[in-house]
């Protein structure tokens, strides 16, 4: 498999604070990567390093096995293939949305047909000819996304792409992301909107202490489609003690958000049935079987104090 973009031992330090620690990772074409972390853990820093807006203290960014940010000319070449989604507050208020798209199409010299296609796909026809000064937050956000889609670069970096969007548009954008993935693009998404990320991301990383941790490593079997966990709400302390006595072989975890997780990996159907009976008997009706959600993992990773 060819890898398109490679980060090699990237390290960034702000004063004493090590924001990125020896990050080495490879990204393949046709892959959507999710970067999940709370604010201030280095998601944006990593993206800025990939764009060379922030030269790292150590390490290299390598595109197509050869290109590095070693000269200004190379920077231009890399930017031809790697783009980052613009900030919605940076739009030109006196310029129309369509002209914004035209600018990005011109700058990256992509197919002009993309402009109209993207407008239709994102349902922007009604307002795209108006000046962006009149747009709402969601409209601006969609425009920024559309701009990057129009630039049509090999690697696309998106920071908080779903911000301020309603569920319908989240769905629309997800569809476009999947289509771009099918076209062989590498898309890196930083987000703290967790739910929809699992739907389309091939690999999801947590960032902690300046390191990237693949979710599957944090919780083995996360990506498998098997029942691994029982999630119970309002599990009181006393009942939990009783439960633990009854099923001493099960690992139980209480999340900071109040949910209780019972690890049922490698358990047979009989045990699962017994658990169900026990929970119903204790009138704990709000429980579900399934796999660990990203939300649970997130809570485990970052909210444990």
């Amino acid at each position: 498999m060819i890898d398109l973009l490679e980060l090699k031992k990237i390290g960034v330090r702000f004063g004493d604070k090590q924001v990125l620690k020896d990050i080495s990772i490879k990204f393949q074409p046709g892959e959507i990567i999710g970067l999940v972390a709370p604010n201030g853990t280095g998601k944006s820093t990593l993206m800025n390093v990939i764009m060379n807006y922030l030269p790292p203290n150590q390490g290299q960014v390598i595109l197509n096995h050869e290109l590095q940010y070693s000269s200004k000319a190379n920077e231009v070449k890399i930017h031809q293939d790697v783009s980052m989604m613009p900030d919605q507050s940076d739009l030109y208020n006196h310029v129309s949305g369509k002209n914004h798209l035209k600018i990005y199409q011109e700058m990256w010299n992509s197919d002009p047909k993309l402009i109209d296609e993207t407008i239709v796909k994102l349902g922007m026809e009604s307002y795209v000819k108006k000046k962006t000064g009149t747009y709402s937050l969601g409209m601006r956000q969609r425009l920024c996304f559309a701009m990057q889609i129009v630039s049509n670069t090999q690697v696309m970096l998106m920071d908080e792409v779903m911000n301020g969007l309603d569920p319908t548009h989240v769905e629309l954008i997800s569809q476009i992301l999947l289509q771009k993935k099918a076209e062989g693009k590498t898309i890196i998404i930083a987000s703290h909107l967790l739910e929809n990320l699992e739907q389309y991301a091939d690999r999801i990383f947590f960032m902690k202490n300046g390191e990237l941790n693949l979710v599957d490593d944090v919780s083995p079997g996360f990506s498998d489609n098997k029942v691994t966990t029982v999630r119970v709400s309002n599990f009181s302390q006393e009942l939990l003690i009783v439960f633990k006595k009854q099923f001493p072989e099960l690992a139980v975890q209480i999340l900071p958000n109040g949910k209780t997780l019972i690890d049922v990996k490698e358990q047979d159907t009989i045990t699962l049935g017994a658990i169900t009976q026990y929970l119903i008997a204790q009138r704990l009706n709000d429980f579900s079987f399934g796999k660990l959600t990203l939300n649970d993992l997130y809570s485990l990773e970052y909210q444990q104090s």
């Binding site: 764009m51 807006y53 030269p55 200004k72 000319a73 920077e75 231009v76 070449k77 930017h79 031809q80 790697v82 783009s83 980052m84 989604m85 613009p86 900030d87 940076d90 739009l91 030109y92 006196h94 310029v95 002209n99 914004h100 035209k102 600018i103 011109e106 700058m107 990256w108 010299n109 000046k131 701009m147």
Partner: protein, 372 residues
Amino acid sequence: MRSMLKTLFIIEKTNKKNIFACLIVALCIIGMVVYANSTELGNPIKEKSSESLPVKVAMNKFQIVDASEYGDGSDIYKNIVKQYYTYPKQGMALKTEQPELFIDTAIELTELRKQAFEMENYDLVAGNLPSKIENEMDSSYYKYLKEHSLELSFGSLSFYPFLAFLFSIVGSVWFVLIGIYSSNIMIDDFRHISIIKGYPIAFSKYVLAKCITSMGIVVIFIIELFICSLPLIYFKGLGQASYPVAVFNGGVMIYPIYKYIAVSIIYMIVLAIFAILLSVILNVLLKNVYLTIFVQVILVVLPILFPGLIELIPFNPFNYVNFPSVLNGESLNLAMPVALNSNAGLLYLCISIGLLMAIIKWVLSTGKLQKI
């Protein structure tokens, strides 16, 4: 590069600032046309009538004695008396519309003054008479008229002479105007940083594209200068494009009006490039519109406040920023006279532009663009 220019065109064409700037320039020029038209600007009868009084006063500084060739008055006194008596001749020539006589007396007057400069006690009357360089320019102007037997115009400014006048006025404030106009050239971009930063184009090329776009508007300003002066053709006629203008360029020379205008335009374009590049650098360094304006104005004002600097650093491009005064040889009137050569000035400006470009190319980079 082409796509960058297209992009900037999309952004700039709807920018209110440009539209307003063009409107203001047009209004100012039309105002000037109206002013020139209504005040009879350049009418020699009006302008010459007041010249004799200071000479009369100069005369009164001396004891009244016999001013004849062998009289006992001092040389300078005799000279001033002779000067004083050329004025009535000039006045008569004007009123009876005899251009040849007027030119002859004007030449006579400049000759008298030329002699006066060398005489003892000239300092006594210096304040009442035109300066040496002014006189020299007058002298070559009238001599040129006589040699080429050109008709002296008795009316006020017609189209071409007005253009020369207009360029000399606009030229003296041109650098500051362009400096102010371009003072937010990069600051503006800092507000759109996430859009611009990732453009697959080198920063120096990006700056170049920005400068070319700004220069486009500068060219529009210059074209406006011509277009908005056109009404004067209707009021005052076209005039002669080959009419002489005395300029200083290392020595006193005569340029025809069209050459004067051409030199002005070259200067204005070079100054505009200089101002824009300076704005770019100051913007990136200072990140503040007003500080950019202040620094530019200070750089312009310094040689004016400390004229000693002009002699000390003759290659300072800011000595030449007020190019009409360079062309008038005004630096020769300073306490420490310096002959600023306007061609050399162009050269210094061009070298400075090269330096600024080098700074932009080698020192500034996209990394310098931070959101503010």
